[in-house]
């Protein structure tokens, strides 16, 4: 019973956090938690293909970055009073930019998936990386949209007339999206499609013998995962008021992967643990030493070698021992 209350408790705690942070005079805490939630969405979307579907994609930042730029470019045209491709007017309305970002990421995931999913294993890792690098190179050289420097989204977006420049407003938007996303993901995991995906992860040959063509289902999962990352990228753009080529870089794909592995591949809550651990360590270690990556690497080694299934797996075996 307490296990079922845990998500509810977490949501309540997250909802109270801005007040507590304010009271403790720790405004940085609110921003840290907001970033953790965004990265948790992105990592969880990667976990949908990597953990639930067994597809090791090393190009997940492509969709995160595309979502990021979709918001940035729409805002750019809004501020400029010009239109994209000559006919799409810009906007700062979050109710339009957010779905647009998801749609763009999903479309690119469909295109990349159609080609990349014809390969497997190392080839799949490399081809997803290659596509992500192509998109990265494209945006870096796109001088009209800031090139190397990225795009500043000065006044952020608006939602129902409220400016999302307000850090507390955007915090609650991020919280609402994160709660919605994880609820949706939980449904997907237990759905008809989730069951087929779990079968494909375990044994594709068996699924073919059941009359399932794995390609279609892997592509569907790939598109759903791309859309999730696009949503996270859009939130990041509004939160930081900045669309950056960094969100497309291969190191970002690596960070998502580290979060998933730290938290526990295939675990539903793993990406939340992974994102939280990664960002907390990143922030605190970086303020302490510039060689923070050394400690991150040691932790990753420990988690991979000494736990079964990352932090989520370690918690699970800890619970089992004290039952």
């Amino acid at each position: 019973m307490p296990r079922k209350l845990l998500p509810l408790l977490l949501i309540v705690a997250l909802a109270c956090l801005p007040f507590v942070a304010d009271w403790l005079d720790q405004r940085a805490l609110q921003s840290l938690v907001a970033r953790i939630m965004i990265y948790a969405i992105a990592a969880a979307s990667l976990n949908l293909i990597l953990g639930f579907g067994g597809m090791v994609s090393f190009g997940h930042a492509a969709f995160f970055g595309l979502g990021n730029y979709a918001v940035g470019i729409l805002y750019f045209h809004f501020a400029d009073s010009t239109s994209l491709f000559g006919f799409i007017p810009g906007t700062d309305n979050f109710l339009i930019t957010f779905p647009a970002a998801i749609l763009v990421a999903g479309l690119f995931a469909l295109l990349i998936g159609l080609l990349a999913l014809r390969t497997e294993g190392v080839q799949f890792i490399m081809i997803t990386l290659a596509f992500a690098q192509m998109i990265f190179a494209f945006f870096v050289s796109l001088n009209g949209y800031g090139g190397d420097d990225g795009l500043i989204i000065r006044k952020a977006n608006t939602l129902f007339g409220m400016s999302l420049r307000n850090k507390t407003t955007i915090y609650y938007v991020i919280l609402a999206v994160a709660v919605g996303y994880f609820f949706w993901l939980h449904r997907v995991k237990g759905s008809s499609f989730g069951n087929i995906l779990a079968g494909i992860r375990q044994n594709e040959k068996r699924m073919v013998a059941l009359g399932i063509n794995p390609f279609r289902y892997k592509l569907f999962a790939f598109v759903l995962a791309g859309m999730g990352a696009g949503a996270a990228g859009a939130l990041m753009a509004v939160f930081l008021r900045f669309a950056s080529p960094d969100t497309l870089a291969w190191t970002k794909s690596g960070e998502f992967m580290i979060m998933v592995i730290l938290g526990g591949v295939g675990s539903f809550v793993g990406p939340i643990w992974g994102a939280a651990t990664f960002l907390v360590l990143h922030d605190y270690l970086a303020s302490w030493t510039e060689h923070w990556q050394l400690f991150m690497g040691l932790l990753l080694l420990f988690v991979v070698l000494r736990t079964k299934g990352g932090i989520a797996g370690a918690i699970e075996s800890f619970r089992a021992r004290f039952k």
């Binding site: 008809s192 499609f193 069951n195 079968g199 073919v208 013998a209 063509n213 759903l224």
Partner: protein, 251 residues
């Protein structure tokens, strides 16, 4: 009446080797047809071409009159061509019940919904439980496949294949690795299927072949040596030579 499965002039060459050499074969509806032959005769190559995992160089395959030569393996399954594997191929992390459930689910085509709850779909689980009822695996319903014995996995593979309601079933050495008692159980289980499913049985266990087969085809060096009843095959001098080798055989 059209044949359940018909193979016409099938050829498959590998570098320097003709693995399937002009094979034509007809499976009569409801019969158990055994395919035997010494190691390396091309039995697995033939099965893989029938299942669709290996494309033939030329020739055609018909399932109940329909040309399936170019169909994707998954499509053939949905058209009614089921199979089991020589080395068992199941979902290792799923329980016995879940392995059967996903087979029912796949057959019903309920596979792309993302917001339903698979554990709550009564029709799927009712059929799963009905399939399990009365079988030796009923007591093992909640056991993960990785924890099953080899014999139990063989039984489960057969059950999973039957859940797909195939018209033709390709059985790739269902007795392989089974003990004597388990083999007897498997023979009985297959005997019950006679008349309901057309079966192509690839098997090394001659006791099983002679007990089950309505017709036997002998494959040697990729080509069909003969097709006949158990008596005809066992009394054939050529078949004995193919198995035991003649005087000037290189090995």
């Amino acid at each position: 009446m059209t044949a359940a499965l018909e193979i016409r002039n099938l050829f498959k060459h590998f570098a320097g080797l003709t693995a399937t050499d002009n094979v034509s074969l007809t499976l009569k509806t409801g019969q158990i047809h055994a395919l035997i032959g010494p190691n390396g005769a091309g039995k697995s190559t033939l099965i893989n071409q029938l299942a669709g995992t290996l494309p033939p160089d030329s020739g055609q395959i018909f399932l109940e009159g329909q040309d399936i030569t170019l169909r994707h393996p998954a499509e053939r399954v949905l058209l009614g061509l089921g199979r089991t594997f020589q080395v068992t191929n199941l979902l290792g992390e799923f329980t016995v019940r879940e392995n059967l459930g996903i087979a029912v689910q796949a057959r019903c085509g309920r596979t792309l919904r993302i917001l339903d709850r698979i554990s709550g779909v009564r029709t799927i689980w009712d059929e799963t439980d009905a399939t399990l009822a009365g079988t030796a695996l009923e007591a093992r319903a909640g056991t993960v496949v990785d924890d099953l014995s080899h014999g139990e996995r063989k039984q489960l593979e057969l059950l999973v294949a039957l859940v797909g309601k195939p018209k033709v079933l390709l059985l790739d050495e269902p007795m392989a690795g089974l003990g004597h008692a388990e083999s007897q159980d498997m023979i009985q289980a297959l005997e019950k299927l006679r008349g309901q499913v057309t079966i192509l049985l690839v098997e090394h266990d001659m006791e099983a072949v002679f007990a089950l087969a309505d017709e036997i085809s002998v494959l040697v060096y990729g080509s069909l040596l003969m097709t006949g009843t158990a008596d005809e095959v066992s009394s054939s001098k050529e078949v004995r030579e193919a198995y035991l080798g003649s005087e000037d055989s290189p090995c």
